[in-house]
Amino acid sequence: MAEIVLDNVVKRYPDGFEAVKELNLEIADGEFMILVGPSGCGKSTALNMIAGLEDISAGELRIGGKVVNRVAPRDRDIAMVFQSYALYPHMTVRENMAFALRLAKVPKAEVNQKVQEAADILDLNEHLERKPANLSGGQRQRVAMGRAIVRDPSAFLMDEPLSNLDAKLRVQMRSQVARIQRKLNTTTVYVTHDQTEAMTLGDRVAVMLSGVLQQVGSPMELYDNPANLFVAGFIGSPGMNFMPATLENGTAHLPMVDVPLPADTLERLGRHRGAGDVIAGIRPEDFEDATNVEAAVRDRGITFKAHFDLVEAMGAEYYAHFGINAKEIVASEELQELRDDAGGVEEMTESGDTVLVARLSPKSRARAGEESDLWLDSTKLHFFDAQSGEALTFRR
């Protein structure tokens, strides 16, 4: 058991490229910390530095209070699960899991017992004498987990451990990882590019972009109170809708409707309340079909007409897509990053309008090609600085 502290940690490559810039992160004993971000954001580099597989260019890394910058990986007492699993192909499952203990010269009886315990947890008993080549993807993944568990290390490091599994198995393994971590209560650092994994697994989530830590907090903190445009757009699925807006006299002029801002939002905006051109962000669930909004909450929002060009039925909810006549927001670098992460394309209607997505209750009668009344919760609006991407509505 140990806490992990990254103190101004920097990774600089010989060509001058900084993969990780002054990273400060404190991971408490027993905590499940997620490092999340698009590819190339430095999350894996950060993990490898904690593991000792990459040198730290500057700053200090402490595990359990001891500075370990120059300590070899084998002496850090941490176990790692690799994205590729990295199982030893010439060893059986049992030998794979026992390898670390054998190296540590643990008595044979104890090794067997520990391997047995791990195999019980991971349901690997009938595969112990098989070689990795004869296992399915999910089984290999469990062996990789088992190899980490048997050692009873002071921390687990996991580098996208589920990304090679198919979608269904990934969801299953996700809950298994969460249960195992809760049961063993071992400090865990988990790297992923999947925001769903980040939201569902982590005690806390650290969002990174271009080597810079954007925000750290519990999943719900990040979701409700993002520090900037990138975090807001990255966390949540479907992602937050962004559109150009103008703030003046306590009113937000959105492309589809003018919204008088509630007192709380104005207070948070503070000196930015007349900031002029900004970017507004609305989560899909903060829209609702106007006919389904209860009278009690109707007053805290505003209703406008929307023309749906696509309605996706998900069973428990509808995703209704509608266009707004807005100029494209080009200035924001963070929006560009989000777009790249989503595959580099932005959704547009046939007439070239920007598309917003509303998450509606299944009671909604919204149909594609029809116009209907859409309600917007004005207390849930987010505003971001158009240049810096900083959240103007950030609650400190």
Binding site: P73, A79, M80, L87
Partner: protein
Amino acid sequence: MDQENTPTRKTLWIFAVVGVLIYALVPVIWIASLSLKTPESIGDGSFLPTHWTLHNYTTAFKTGFFTASLRNSIGIALITTVIALAFASMAAYAITRLDFPGKTAILAGALAVTMFPAISIVGGLYNVWRNIGLFDTWAGLILPYLSFSLPLSIYILSAFFREIPWDLEKAAQMDGATPLQAFWRVILPLAVPGVFTAGILTFIAAWNDFLFANVLTATNSARTAPVALSYFTGASQFQQPAGAIAAGAVIVTVPILIMVLIFQRRIVSGLTAGAVKG
């Protein structure tokens, strides 16, 4: 493209295979046949012996110098192979895994060494070896064999090491292995096919060498079998020792055959299958 196994295609294949087999095997059978003929019938021109005898084999072993040369050959080739594999595996590992200045220069240098014509250094070596006492010793042959077989072994092994996922080594490090343990217990077992390939080639090269062995040895203490064959004499100086030479040639071929047959089973590819995802 038409990939069907039409009768014509099959027939053509059979002809081609039989042709290659005849081309490759007839000389070998011819030598074996010669070695079993009596001295009187050796020039009779018939493909198979008319009078069978093992006399040539007993002749080959009678003098003792052929037996000594066999011992030399086996010893020198085995020692060369073991040393070459030990150094080549470490060098190849360093070249594939580490980034150090002059890496390409080392590889280029190694390649240049293999292309170096042996005949151009053998004269110089003869004089040097005589002066420093390596002439007519096992070490005197092992050293030049090593310098010619190491580069090739390094090339073969580094190709195999490159195929092994780096993650495996990282995993071993995380599991508490020292670099040497990671190399010895994880990387090397996976490179076994490469090790055997390099080993066989090194052994064959050392076993077959005639040039160095002929120039750098003089007596039974280091003379190898191929050279010993050339020193066979008949019962009188007017008699051709062709039968005994043929018998010797067959005997010299046997260890190589055994080596290849044993190791061929070990050269199994796909050993790394299942290491990473799937």
